[in-house]
């Protein structure tokens, strides 16, 4: 492992002192960047881009060339694991991801097996190794996976959904079957994330994009509990910080902070000051600017980014904040507004830490 030139992100996750608030953006390597679109075009398709380590590396590094971001995140798809299970991932034109063989019944669940990360998912660990080499210690590299529940949503629905009818019908009608499916997913996600760490990932993030679609009670049982098992399995083998992000999970912050993760990602519906009061002694927080602020121009970006930093408040002992959006950056984002955002977060958060500047009230 090379020494990091900038370990601010990792120190914030460990709730250690940092000179400023580190920032990275979910989906920072993406369609709002013309250079990303050029590489994607060269790759031929989104999946080819994900499955070619050199190209995945190229796009992972693109946002770091433009902006002084404090972390890189592996460029990959959230559905690599069910794809490796043989469900047949494809992208229909102008639509989201789909599976040729959705998991709709007991026979399909029974057939599921944990994929070997060194075999079917080798292209991901190869990408991690390539990116780590190319980063040469500039900033840490984040590995990631979808959560067991979020993967289950796609696997059972066969694609995106706005009501989660199929997966919730299975959950409510056959809780036993749903639990079996989630157990396979939990083992697969743990093995997958572990392999990313072995390949060089220096932090991990679990994207629970659809946990917030679940009812209270069902969330704890079907989304949080499998994530707890993933985190526990990782802890047994690796010493790497883990961020858990349940979109729409603001009501459950205490529950999430209780599964052994290092940081909790929050979306923009959460007030960071109140979140810090609820869990700030146990976990760092990551978030939570509304990505749509980036549409509105530099003045709005500055004002709202400062608002997020003020909501968290002056960093004190044992508190950690990683600035991020509350969701992936929109493809319609003007790239110049991202520069304003990163500059504002760095500059204003340095000011927040200066003892001669009065601390903003929580």
């Amino acid at each position: 492992m090379s020494t990091l030139a900038n370990d601010t992100f990792l120190r914030a996750l460990r709730r250690e002192h940092t000179d400023y608030t580190p920032v990275w953006l979910m989906r920072q390597a993406g369609r709002y960047l013309p250079e990303y679109n050029a590489t994607r075009k060269r790759a031929g398709s989104f999946l080819a881009l994900c499955k070619t380590p050199e190209l995945a590396c190229e796009v992972t590094l693109q946002p770091l060339e433009r902006y002084p971001l404090d972390a890189a995140i592996l460029f990959s798809d959230i559905l690599t694991v069910p794809d490796a299970m043989g469900l047949g991932l494809y992208f229909a034109d102008g639509e989201g991801p789909k599976f040729e063989r959705p998991v709709r019944d007991e026979a399909a669940v029974t057939k599921l097996a944990v994929p070997d990360p060194s075999d079917e998912l080798r292209y991901v660990t190869d990408a991690v190794r390539t990116i780590r080499g190319a980063l040469a210690g500039r900033v840490p590299l984040i590995g990631f996976s979808g959560s067991p529940w979020t993967l289950a949503c796609y696997m059972v629905e066969g694609g995106g959904s706005d009501d989660f009818r199929e997966v919730k019908t299975m959950l409510y009608r056959r809780p036993d079957l749903m639990s079996r499916l989630l157990e396979v997913n939990a083992q697969a996600v743990a093995a997958y994330l572990g392999a990313q760490v072995e390949a060089g990932a220096q932090a991990l993030m679990i994207f629970d994009s659809w946990g917030g679609a679940l009812a209270d009670g069902a969330y704890q049982r079907y989304s949080l509990e499998p994530m707890r098992r993933v985190v526990a399995a990782l802890r047994r083998e690796h010493d790497v910080p883990v961020i858990v992000f349940t979109k729409g999970g603001g009501l459950w912050l205490e529950d999430i902070a209780g599964i052994g993760c290092d940081a909790v990602g929050v979306d923009w519906t959460v007030n960071l000051g109140r979140a810090r009061a609820r869990i700030g002694d146990r976990c760092a927080l990551q978030g939570n600017l509304d990505p749509m602020v980036l549409m509105a121009g530099p003045d709005a970006v500055r004002r709202e980014a400062i608002g997020v930093l003020d909501d968290f408040g002056a960093p004190g002992p044992g508190a950690g904040h990683v600035f991020n959006l509350g969701h992936g950056i929109s493809q319609f984002t003007p790239p110049e507004n991202v520069a304003v955002l990163v500059e504002t977060v760095h500059a204003y958060s340095r000011k927040l830490r200066r003892p001669d500047v009065s601390a903003p009230s929580l």
Copy 2:
């Protein structure tokens, strides 16, 4: 005003003693009922159905013929008010509602005027009068409107949206303009709901379907504050209970309970026991079964409905619970499962009130 044969719903809203927990379902007159589809076909279109008081009355009463529900809700569309403002509401085949003339700039905002409910919206108050007559005091009739912010979303986006890019860009770039738009909407909604009460509505509900898309801070300013003005305007003229429902607003229950409404609607991400502990001394609660439970068959419906009732717990002095879904009923719902739901809520909630049955723990 005729005397009500069943005023359980109104008493629960006032947090008075009831023999059982009243139940009604958002969108209870809807596409899951074959008789609704027959009437809609006769009407020719959804808008014709909304705009013909006799047909709106017919479908409003259909679910009451099937199930012993404790309230009726006016059948209408959420976008009648912006339609009456002249934005040109239409429904494209297989898509949601759209406006021919979205409100995208200062000139469009300046042109907006509060519609006269006795003129452009006369078909709604006529429907309320017709339904009240037809109900003949069986159960109370609920009038409703979209919230000022939710109407603004449709007005600015020109239809549904999954990222609210246009309306949030206006909000962050031109907060002054957004405030002017919301002030027109607040006055329009207050006048519209007041006219529904004068026509016979016995309770009111404000559907803030998209409040949960807002960031903390923006929600309080752009969704809650206009709703507070609506409730205050209604209070000055009328004595009728008001329910406020912000989908995805579980983090803001205390704020919502503070705007002077009688009940707060909550979606299924909220635990009713914890919600009651947070606001149960100030407002009744309405909710919150996941509508997808109704897909899973009678056993799941019974189990999950009992779970919701147990979460709220044994009703005590000063607490009120109206059972509902956490969102509108799905068009794919088997109607026989709704019968199981209503029967379960009535029967189990009577048991909960019997002193010889030990109260379930919160």
